[in-house]
């Protein structure tokens, strides 16, 4: 290796301080990678000029796939040949982001051989991101990783890598098996993930309860959020234990959004018919309260970031669904939603934006979902509603 040493006074400043430094990471990789070494010079230039020096991604990938690799090129390749190509490979992470040392070290060895030695664990969508390689290294890296049981994640106008919270693996609040669901969706829709055929991207995220540690309501076109019916399970002895260290009235009773709880110093009472399952009491008294036992999910649809006509959060389209294998009802609904989106969506139009453009009632009617008060904060206030032919007397 013939390595040019770059002066990087601006980046060096970001090696100081307590929190772990990305600059230190790049420098560690630079000790054995010309690509990472040139990334130091390249990033320092961005810092100095206060502007990015990456060009738009070109179309690169592996044979038979339409996504999973993001092309990235420097706009100053002559100065920094090591990052002339600096493509990203997205590997689909296992549900719950669990690994063991053996497989991670194996992936590290492969990435040192075929790429820059730099990663994101994880990317925003939840992929295991391998940051920076050349076009000719893509096929070999894919052969090495796929032969060991890994596959690419999604990119472009396709199903993106589904992700989830830890769910039942390590959380007492999980009302659905988020990891099993996420893995099943991923395997069920391999073609939709690897060969982009949608109007735009589509993301699934599964959260075991409405605490939503995976931020599904803000970041997934379809948010699968665990919930329950029936009574919150109470351990009254533990409630009394909490009452010794916690002001239950101030911290629990008065903070309940529906005012459905009472505590007389001896026993906690919950009017479950008025509970909206916000999780506050359960989250603050983890030993005393648990979700009810009739468990399932609420399906919400449509969230996305602000590009282009403003950010959306997902809203309720199915108040309750069991979400148990083989998930037939769920997949039937997804297929109908995608068909409707495919028929009506414009290029680069997310499902949430399409529903806004064509109307939520029309969406419900055409994909065959029954309207429910659970779907709205309040009914419409204007008198401009549509009727169908069958509603009219002729």
């Amino acid at each position: 290796m013939s390595k040019k040493k770059y002066d990087s006074p601006l980046l060096d400043e970001l090696e100081k301080g307590v929190f772990p430094s990305f600059v230190t990471e790049i420098k560690r990789a630079a000790a054995h990678s010309d690509m990472a070494n040139d990334l130091i010079g390249h990033t320092e230039l961005c810092y100095k000029e206060r502007v990015t020096h990456w060009k738009h991604g070109g179309i690169v990938g592996v044979r038979g796939y339409g996504g999973g690799v993001i092309g990235r090129y420097s706009d100053v390749p002559d100065k920094f040949p090591g990052v002339a190509h600096f493509h990203t490979v997205r590997l689909n992470s296992p549900s719950g982001f669990y690994y063991n040392a053996t497989v991670l070290k194996e992936l590290c060895d492969l990435w040192d051989k075929y790429g820059s030695g730099l990663t994101n664990v994880h990317g925003s969508t939840g992929d295991l991101v391998f940051l920076g390689t050349r076009t000719e290294q893509l096929e070999p890296f894919f052969a090495e990783t796929s032969s060991r049981g890994w596959d690419l994640g999604g990119s472009g106008s396709a199903l993106r890598t589904p992700s989830c919270c830890v769910g039942k693996s390590r959380c007492e609040w999980a009302n659905i098996d988020t990891m099993a669901i996420t893995n099943d969706i991923t395997q069920h829709y391999q073609d939709e993930m690897h060969r982009p055929a949608f109007p735009y991207k589509f993301k699934f995220k599964a959260a075991g309860c409405p605490v939503d540690c995976i931020a599904s309501i803000a970041r997934a076109d379809m948010s699968i959020i665990g919930t329950w019916k029936g009574d919150i399970r109470i351990n009254q002895a533990e409630v009394l234990n909490y009452s010794k260290t916690m002001d239950i009235k101030a911290e629990i009773i008065d903070m309940c959004p529906t005012g459905c709880m009472q505590f007389d110093g001896k026993a906690l009472k919950i009017d479950n018919s008025n509970c909206n399952r916000c999780m506050h009491c359960i989250a603050k008294m983890t030993k005393a309260l648990r979700p009810g036992t009739e468990q399932g999910a609420t399906l919400l649809l449509g969230s996305k970031a602000p590009i282009v006509t403003g950010a959306l959060m997902s809203w309720v389209i199915v108040p309750f669904i069991k979400m148990e294998p083989p998930y037939e009802e769920f997949y039937d609904l997804i297929d109908k939603i995608w068909e409707w989106w495919d028929e009506n969506g414009k290029n680069r139009e997310r499902i949430g934006e399409l529903i806004e453009r064509l109307s939520f009632p029309r969406f419900l009617k055409e994909v065959g979902l029954e309207p429910s008060p659970a779907m709205v904060k309040w009914p419409r206030r204007d008198p401009f509603f549509f009727w169908s032919e069958e509603d009219i007397q002729r």
């Binding site: 307590v18 502007v51 994101n120 098996d177 073609d191 916000c278 506050h280 680069r348």
Partner: protein, 358 residues
């Protein structure tokens, strides 16, 4: 090059069950409760009485293979090789007995890893690629995160807050990190329209889709150049046209900067999920440490600590005192840019005379 192994396609990710700690696998779906023990450790107790102790450390998200190997070595020594990453990019290690926590913590600390992020604190900042790896970045993300967390690290490692404060950084309005529902978030913004490279628009871009990409219909055909033109007064600098057509660069070293939005959350605890709202429309990019940005965040955090009741998130505190009071408490200037004039503008206007005097 040596012979490559036979590639496989459409096999999906490895099944998670291969990677679960035996105690996690055994008690899957049978957890009873959990307790936060320290800012960097917690225990989950199963119905069987089994316990799994989780130890969490910070990560810059950009990780070298060298650092991942260090994580692995520690996992092999203490955790039977098991580890996971959180949705906020922290690293978690597992042990099955309380006596095994201290030796693990000791090794992590000896290696310089930072324990924390659990409970009513600041966890790791969710962020995007920025200048390190993105073509549309209006600011850097990793540098902002490092600069902010260096200032606030005590809220990761030790100090408590009224509740969790979730920070996020997106380097442009595409928001790969979906920062729009965070307690405090930064977003890279442009202040100037894209510049049209007529020759390359003609050669490299699809004119109809470029026109269609504009949310305010500011772009129209320019028959004279076989390119497009922009009605400047309609452009809101979102950069969506640049995403579609590389020949319309929008980056501007002097005018790009950072906006701060606050008060969002995704959980339903007590109150419904909310979007973050604009509090500072623009701060110039001032790398490597963006001091004006970190100062503004400290102002917000200080006001939150002083004003919030226990368990209130930033947005719940502001909802209770009113946004007009928030501007008074923080001293941020309220500008024309704060008043919405886009898709959801009307629902933000105050249709009552019940504001507070500030």
């Amino acid at each position: 090059m040596s012979e490559l192994p036979q590639r496989q396609t459409d096999i999906g990710p490895p099944h998670y069950s291969k990677f679960l700690h035996p105690v996690i696998a055994k008690n899957y779906g049978k957890w009873l409760y959990h307790e936060v023990l320290t800012p960097g450790t917690m225990v989950h107790v199963a119905e069987s009485g089994d316990k799994i102790f989780t130890v969490r450390i910070a990560s810059p998200r950009i990780l070298s293979t060298d650092t991942i190997r260090e994580h692995c070595e520690i996992a092999e020594k203490h955790c039977g090789g098991h580890l996971r990453f959180t949705s906020r990019n922290n690293v978690e290690f597992f042990v099955d007995a309380e006596s095994k926590v201290a030796p693990l913590v000791k090794d992590l600390e000896a290696k310089g890893f930072l324990l924390g992020g659990i409970g009513p604190r600041i966890s790791n900042i969710v962020h995007t690629q920025g200048w390190v790896h993105c073509h549309s970045a209006a600011t850097d993300a990793s540098g902002l995160v490092k600069a902010i967390m260096d200032e606030l690290h005590e809220y990761f490692t030790t100090k408590e807050l009224p509740n969790k404060v979730r920070l996020a950084v997106a380097c442009c309005v595409n928001m790969c990190g979906a920062v729009h529902c965070s307690d405090i978030a930064l977003v890279g913004v442009h202040k100037t329209p894209p510049r049209i490279d007529d020759v390359n628009v003609k050669n490299a871009c699809e004119v109809p889709s470029t026109i269609a990409s504009c949310p305010t219909s500011a772009i129209s055909p320019n028959p004279a150049t076989k390119s497009v033109k922009i009605k400047l007064e309609k452009c809101m600098y979102c950069g969506n046209c640049y995403s579609v057509c590389p020949a319309m660069p929008i980056a501007d070293a002097v005018n790009d900067g950072v906006a701060i939005v606050v008060g969002g959350k995704v959980s339903t605890l007590r109150s419904n999920p909310t979007f973050s709202k604009l509090v500072v429309p623009w701060i110039p990019n001032n790398p490597p440490r963006w001091p004006q940005v970190t100062d503004a965040i400290k102002v917000i955090l200080k006001a939150y600590i002083a004003g919030a009741k226990k368990h209130e998130r930033v947005g719940e505190w502001i909802a209770r005192i009113g946004w007009e009071s928030f501007f008074k408490e923080t001293g941020f200037e309220f500008k024309l840019q704060h008043i919405d004039d886009f898709t959801f503008a009307r629902e933000t206007f105050r249709m009552a005379a019940t504001f507070k005097w500030t």
